[in-house]
Every structure is written in C-alpha cells, then in structure tokens.
Amino acid sequence: MASEKVTTLTDTNFDQSVIKAAQPVLVDFWAEWCGPCKRLGPTIDELATDYDGRVTIGKLNVDDNPAVAGRFSIRGIPTLLLFKGGQIVEQVVGLADKDSLKKMLDKHVPAPAQG
C-alpha cells in the first residue's frame, strides 16, 4: 500500500504539482504490470516519509497518464525524475537502492531542520 505521504500525479495535476512546485519533486513513473516498479514501491514510500516537507514524492501511473509519460519520452520503467524549479535535474532508470537515491536527493535539498 502506498504511503499517504506519496502524491498521486496525473496528466491533469502534473504542471501544478510538479512544474510549478516550490520544492523539488521526485516523480516515480510506474505501472501495475511492472515487477521492478513494485519492488521499488516500498523504497519510494520510505523516501516520502524521510523527506517529508523537503521533497515531494509523487507517483505517476504511465498507463493512466500517457500525456506526461510521452512528454518526457518515458519508454522504460521504473524511471525516476527529480524536478527542481520545473527542470529535470536527475534521472534514474531501473531499480536503485534507498542509499543511492538518498545521496542523489541530498545533492539537491537542504538537510532536515534540527530539533
């Protein structure tokens, strides 16, 4: 089950939620039939908790939202794109472990507030 901290992205809300977003957004392009996507799922959920308030973590189902998937030439999943100020700043294709994803995110976001 997806964490409640994960934003569901669609063709309709993508520009508002990602391109115009104030904080960085990590978009997980996935589909129901994709085994590796399912394996990545728990990691995405954990990142959503770990980076709550710093990075928006969103999932976009490529079957239901072909416009966004087409716009970024997504032809393989799982693919993760990190958007900052409306621009793609990182791309990860295929499975990745939590550690390397955290390192990737940490390059672009401030450390959590102390206290």
Binding site: A31, W33, C34, G35, P36, R39, P42, V62, S73, I74, R75, G76, I77, T79, Q91, V93, G94, L95, A96, D97, K98, D99
Partner: protein, 325 residues
C-alpha cells in the same frame, strides 16, 4: 555480535534453494535478497522448462512460491543490498546499506546482470527506447517497430514476447546462425512479425539530440556495409555479466569473471560457497541454478559440521565468538 551459521547473498533460484535446504537443515539462514530480488525470473513471463509444471508457470509466481517455501522452514529473508563482504577469515562479515552481519559460512548467489553493448548513446538512451527487459518495457512500443540484439534463447524469447506489442521486430545478430534452442528458433522463424539482420553489429543508437530512440545503425561485419533501421526501441539481449564486484580480489575468478567452484560449490575460500549464474557460464538455467543452490547448502552444512567445536556447535549459534572461545 551475533554469528549466524549461514548467510546467503541473492534471492534467485540458486539463493532461495540454498535457503530452503539450509533452513531444513536447521541452519536458520539469513538471505539478503539484493536489489534485483527474485533474480532474472522476475523479468520473465511463462517458464516452460521448470519441471513439474506441464503448462508452464509464470517466472514471478515461481519465485514467490520458492520464497514462501524457504520461509516456511525458517529462512529469514531481508530486503537490502550488500555493499561489502570481508572474506579474510571466518566469521565472514557482510555489510548492507542498513546493517552488518556475520556468519560461519557464506553462500554467494548474486547471479548475473544483463550486459549492454557498450555504446555511449545506448547508455544515454536507457529508459528512452533502450531496454534490457522486454517484460518491463515492451508495453511502451505498441504498434511501433523495434529491434532485439542477440541470438540466444533470451533474445528470441524477448523478440517473440515483443511481437505482442510491436508492429515489427528486427532481430540483430552478429553471426550467420542463432545460438538459441531449436524450439525457440522454430517459434521465431514462424512468427510473421520477426525479421533477421544477420552478421550485423550495432554501430550506433540514434537520436541523442532528441533524447529518444529513432533508429539504429548496423554494420555488416562481413562486408562493412552500413544500414540504418528505423526503430522506436532497442532491446539488448546479448548475455550476462556475473555479479562479482563484492568479492573481486578476495576469491578466485575465471577469465570471464565467474567465481571458480570445485568439488561442488566450494570456492577458493574455505567456508564460502557459490551457486547459480555467478559461477555458471555454461548452463544458466533456473533448474541448474536451483540444483547448485542445493549443493551449496549441503556443502555449507558439511563445512559447519566439520568446524572446530567452538565454531560449529549448534547451541552456540547466537553467541559471541569471543565469549564462546
């Protein structure tokens, strides 16, 4: 520090069969499943050569069953990716991104990963038309022409699977004949959507500036002639590379980089055993991987039984080695 009897790295058919057998031998194995949990069968569809299933079984379903069977007998399977192993002396140290574990015996079942062609444009277009997994990405090529590179069983299996989606599948092979089994060749030759480019090497994947695959450039390796084939996707199925980076320099590897085993699953390091595709470049079947996993579990059990009392006594499994000493 807890010292376990057996740690198994990898969770494909080899790792899970080793887990099943060592669990049933009451060794309470810890399986660290790795990033590609379940192994290569997780990326396949129907497996028709696993004995016992006359109508075949879906690869992911087979792995789910294997996992549940190993767990039923007490195997502990954890998520995590091993980043470092220390084989200098037992107990062997295994580090993951989350923690550190120690064991008397270690079973390496890390498998093999798909090999790429090695073209710069290929890597840059991964996920944008270049793929190593037909079942993952085939869906994106509905009604589009695509190419499959390779001439073995996996290349033909991918090609045949991809005809469900693609308008046309070009199989690019660098030789004049296929390596694949007769039954797969017959299926491929009979499929009207599949055509072949023989004696051909992939010279380039285009188009980097557009950020997506639009064509591939083939070079005939007999005549040197170049040919551009318009495709929306290219699936690379030219074999696998053994996943040995964890143990390189600590254990004997053969020329192509596979772990050398002798007398069953024994490696050059006593107490370290290897099974599955990481030590097999000949058979590479789910059933041979599983068979070698069984061998590794039995070899590990014998090894532990033969250890000095303070290391091998079953009652001390959870104790600190220093205290037991």
């Amino acid at each position: 520090m807890r010292i376990r009897d057996v740690i198994i790295i990898g969770s494909g058919p080899a790792g899970l069969t080793a887990a099943l057998y060592s669990a049933r031998a009451n060794l309470k194995p810890l399986v660290i499943e790795g990033l590609e949990a379940g192994g290569q069968l997780m990326l396949t569809t129907l497996v028709e050569n696993w004995p016992g299933f006359r109508d075949g079984i879906m690869g992911p379903d087979l792995m789910t069953e294997m996992r549940a069977q190993a767990e039923r007998f007490g195997a502990e399977i954890i998520r995590g990716n091993v980043t470092h192993v220390d084989l200098a002396a037992p107990p062997f140290r295994v580090k993951t991104t989350e923690g550190e574990y120690f064991s008397r015996a270690l079973i390496l079942a890390t498998g093999a990963s798909a090999r790429l062609l090695g073209l710069p444009s290929e890597r840059a277009l991964l996920g944008h038309g270049v793929s190593t997994c037909a079942t993952c990405d085939g869906y994106f090529f509905r009604g589009k022409p695509i190419a499959v590179v390779g001439g073995g069983d996996s290349a033909l299996e991918e090609a045949i699977f991809l005809t469900r989606f693609a308008s046309h599948v070009t199989v690019v092979h660098r030789r004049a004949a296929l390596r694949a089994s007769k039954i797969m060749q017959d299926k491929a030759f009979a499929n009207p959507k599949i055509a072949f480019e023989w004696n051909s090497d992939v010279e380039d994947v285009k188009d980097l500036t557009r950020g997506e695959v639009t064509s591939i450039v083939l070079r005939n390796n007999l005549t040197g002639a170049l040919k551009e084939v318009e495709v929306d996707g290219i699936f690379v199925a030219i074999g696998h590379t053994p996943n040995t980076s964890l143990v390189t320099g600590q254990i004997e590897l053969d020329e192509p980089g596979y772990i050398v085993t002798h007398m069953g699953s024994r490696t050059s390091v006593p107490g370290v055993f290897a099974c599955g595709d990481v030590q097999d470049h000949i058979y590479r079947q789910a059933i041979t991987a599983a068979g070698s996993g069984c061998m590794a579990a039995i070899d590990a059990e014998h090894y532990i039984d033969g250890l000095p009392q303070h290391l091998g006594e079953p009652g001390l499994v959870d104790d600190d080695i220093a205290v037991a000493d």
